[in-house]
Symmetry: C2
Subunit: 450 residues, 2 copies
């Protein structure tokens, strides 16, 4: 039986980063993948959606550029070409991960892993031994127990990525990140899109003001909030409104994006603590079994690709490294790559209030930015909000809606991670003209002293 | 004679920010402007160029979107419409500054200021007294002493913004930020563009590797480096190559972008120290006259809008505020809004070497980013470089070429200002997929420990 310092099960942004970091420390590592390198993120999530959204944004801009001087005779979105580009992007990135694994001298085996005990894993009928085990098996789309949810035109996010043409109409069930990105994509390319969300607002991690504005900016999308889907049939989605009325919407296609569940199949032999479906871990990513760690969606702590990667680093640090890294959840940025984009890092006002944190906050309209005005025009909506501790001035949250949000937000993660205060941010020189400089404006509005 | 706590001369990003910050502290402020509120930046610089570049980028994307699924029958750039949008953007932002001045209770007078002594300024034949004076008069395009440089088709950056149609061909003399942005703009909309630069490389503040890649990515632009323009006539620009050969290029239009000179007219009565044309200041922005400060281009220290704004804050802090702020130049970001964009903050490798700083550096290709690959395709060029102190790991420079560079770079300013080290950046969670996360990849490549 071949023995490794570390076996990692699952090669998504949790698993492959764990394997790479450990390999680069000189450890012997086996990475086991049941599907394709890169996991859901690379193959059925982050990357293919961003490829499609990129093309759709170009199409939207081509149609709406007249005020900026762009004249177009006729524009079409070629779904097959966009899809081919998406597939090529995924393939290139998979090769990239393959290359990283080779560089880090990580062995890779494709097959379903069955954990026999804390130090033994079986795959393709072979057994492999290890000192440490990292579970990084990710999550799967939740298919809710709704009548009709397994009909052929009712798709998960993985299935909808395999379409060869855009549906005429689409009902998206669930207004979280995945639902909203697909709603934005299909709406940009001409599909009639309706989102049905059970909660009173979309995007639960977003500041309420931002979620509301996003709904307004997603002009082609109809939203039904506080509504419960009762049944799906061949042509309709039937739902109950908050007031108790029964209604239905015609839908050629339905996307189920109501949530995801951790993948724990294969761990049955391990006496793991599992709560609400996720493997329980401490802030070192260690499970109740001292040599077994769990990173990424499988622990249910933060279902984001970059959270998984960070957890992987924390796990490897605590197994083979400095043992100093701890997982913190207060400075994890998130982004929705809709058009317009939304992004945030840290607390919303509602979350801060719930924690009893005394805060001050300032919202600035994006049209106060010369760059935003120059590139988006004065009718475009956009917001920046900075939330700080009322007394210390420590920045606890930054939220963005509008152009470049997803690429601006990392600086907020840096600021919150470094525990900078409003008065520190005022010392930072922001480039002009930019959208990001509105963060500085918000800080000066919170505290005018110099 | 009406007296103020502060008189500010010039309402660009140095002057209006100084007036606003002081006004918001409850001080009585008079702001004097000879032209239009906002100065060169708002009226003839940053803002109008970004408006035009925004439209041109849409046009470029419309023409080059086929691989991403965008099909366009025919596309044209409507110069008049782009120009009208530019003018509207400028007007909106001017009104914005007017509003800010009202909110901060700043008096504004239009006219040429003549400083009579350190506490008296004359404008429109009226005299005004002040305790403190901030000079924020900016700079003007340098017209080099070249034969033909005053011919009607030879324009400064201010004049070229007033065109009503694109020239068939354009020779840009000077490959600094201004020259490169116009070269990129006109090249995108179909003008045949040539850049003649006296130095061996364009963009002196950029890392050499980045400037070189930008030249390659600006596919429609011809570059002649190390060349000295000798004479301009009605149809040609004549220049001498590095090897000493005399050559000439046909040009319907010529842009002079060889540099800018501080505007010191009106200060003749003040015994100011002036060096290389700029008003000498200390790190509090104070001139040799204790109650007179000089911020922005007029002191020649850093000819960037946001540097001027920061200097304004430093000046007001030292006059009326905490007196704690000092001007530092090591964490000032810069951005070139060409297509592709280039941005940087801190030192280049060459600058670090010149200072004798022991460094380590890591360059990452942007195509290692899933987002970049998804949105730009695998043939697009792009780079990220992180430079750190070899021993302490302190980040001393971050450089970017490629999409979102100008909106990513503020985080680099935050990191360098907060004196974070490579090991600190590795603790920051970057959003995935993003271009900015390559900064983290570069940091892990510099130091693989966890």
């Amino acid at each position: 039986m071949k023995r490794y310092d570390l076996i990692v099960i699952g090669s998504g942004p949790g698993g492959y980063i764990a394997a790479q970091r450990a390999g680069n420390l000189g450890k012997s590592v086996l990475l086991i993948e049941a599907d394709a390198l890169g996991g859901v993120c690379t193959n059925h999530g982050c990357i293919p959606t961003k490829s499609l959204l990129g093309g759709a944004k170009l199409y939207k801009h081509a149609l709406s550029g007249a005020q900026f001087g762009l004249e177009v005779d006729g524009a079409r979105f070629n779904y097959n070409q966009a899809s081919a580009h998406k597939d090529e992007t995924v393939k290139t990135l998979r090769s990239g991960i393959e290359f990283l694994m080779k560089s880090a001298k990580v062995d890779v085996i494709f097959g379903h892993a069955q954990v026999l005990d804390e130090h033994t894993v079986e795959v393709n009928k072979e057994r492999y031994g290890c000192d440490y085990l990292i579970l990084a098996t990710g999550s799967s789309s939740l298919v809710p127990p709704i009548k009709g949810s397994t009909l052929p035109h009712v798709l998960t996010s993985t299935e909808i990525l395999a379409l060869s043409e855009a549906p005429e109409s689409l009902v998206v069930i669930g207004g979280g990140v995945i639902g909203i990105e697909f709603a934005s994509f299909f709406s940009m390319i001409g599909t009639k899109v309706t989102v049905i969300e059970m909660m009173d607002e979309i995007l639960p991690m977003a500041d309420g003001e931002f979620a509301k504005l996003l709904r307004r900016e997603l002009k082609g999308v109809d939203f039904h909030l506080g509504c419960k889907v009762e049944e799906i049939d061949a042509k309709h989605v039937h739902y109950t409104t908050k007031a108790g009325d029964r209604k239905s919407i015609e839908a050629r296609m339905v996307l189920l994006s109501v949530g995801r569940k951790p993948n724990t199949a294969g761990f049955e032999a391990l006496p793991l603590f599992i709560e609400r479906g996720g493997v329980v871990v401490n802030d070192r990513m260690q499970t109740n079994l001292p040599t077994v760690y769990a990173v990424g969606d499988v622990n249910g702590k933060s279902l984001l690709a970059h959270s998984a990667s960070r957890m992987a680093e924390v796990a490897v640090s605590n197994i083979f490294g400095s043992k100093q890294m701890r997982m913190r959840y207060d400075a994890i940025p998130w982004a929705v790559y809709s058009s317009p984009e939304v992004a945030g890092c840290g607390l919303t006002e509602a979350e801060a209030n719930k924690r009893g944190l005394p805060i001050k906050s300032q919202t600035v309209q994006m049209r106060a930015s010369g760059r935003f005005l120059a590139e988006e025009g004065k009718r475009a909506g956009g917001l920046v909000k900075v939330i700080a501790h009322r007394d210390s001035g420590a920045i606890v949250g930054i939220h963005l809606l509008g152009s470049y949000a997803s690429e601006i937000i990392w600086g907020a993660a840096a600021i919150i991670e470094a525990e900078l205060r409003v008065q520190d941010v005022k010392e930072i020189v922001f480039p002009h003209p930019s959208v990001n400089e509105l963060i500085k404006d918000a800080c000066f509005a919170l505290d005018a002293s110099v």
